[in-house]
Symmetry: C2
């Protein structure tokens, strides 16, 4: 059986309204913060206590908006931030959002 | 009759998830761009062709998220961007988002 593959928008298809929507939900913003700190992780680690359908909903939305890249590795689903693509499209956005969110938590 | 007044979050209550959600809709993003260019305007000018209820929905959401300031002036409802408050809370965010959106349109 071939490995699962996942659809991703090309870098120049990443649109700011969808990125902002993806980042507008605290659960997803926490996932993005975790990815910014850890690099690529098993997607399960982003929400070990979440129902699987909830986790899939949020990671799919992040993937479809161009915020993360997802790939299969055996039975695992590895996920990482598209930080370079986002930086190329919207310089400074991710850093500004994460900094603003850190401040909120403090 | 006293003039209508509008509720606004204090600057330190402005939260990044709500701001990102407010900016994640193309219609609202266009309104914000217009306000960034024009300063304070009659809110009608933000969507002269929109149903009044649609216009009110979007301007209320922008106001409640801390993106705009609204005040009554006679029968008009004047609206302006809280650009200084947003800059104080999330330095660079508004500029980055508007620049990214301009690029998309080009």
């Amino acid at each position: 059986m071939p490995p699962r593959t996942y659809e991703h928008p090309a870098t120049d298809e990443i649109a700011i309204p969808r990125v902002l929507f993806a980042l507008s939900e605290p659960l997803r913003l926490n996932m993005v913060r975790m990815l910014a700190e850890r690099g690529e992780v098993d997607s399960i680690d982003l929400g070990p206590d979440l129902p699987r359908s909830t986790l899939t909903h949020h990671t799919s939305l992040l993937r479809e908006s161009g915020v993360v890249f997802v790939r299969a590795e055996g039975r695992k689903c590895m996920i990482r931030l598209r930080d370079e693509d986002l930086e190329a499209r919207f310089p400074g956005l991710l850093g500004t959002v994460l900094a603003g969110y850190e401040d909120d938590d403090a």
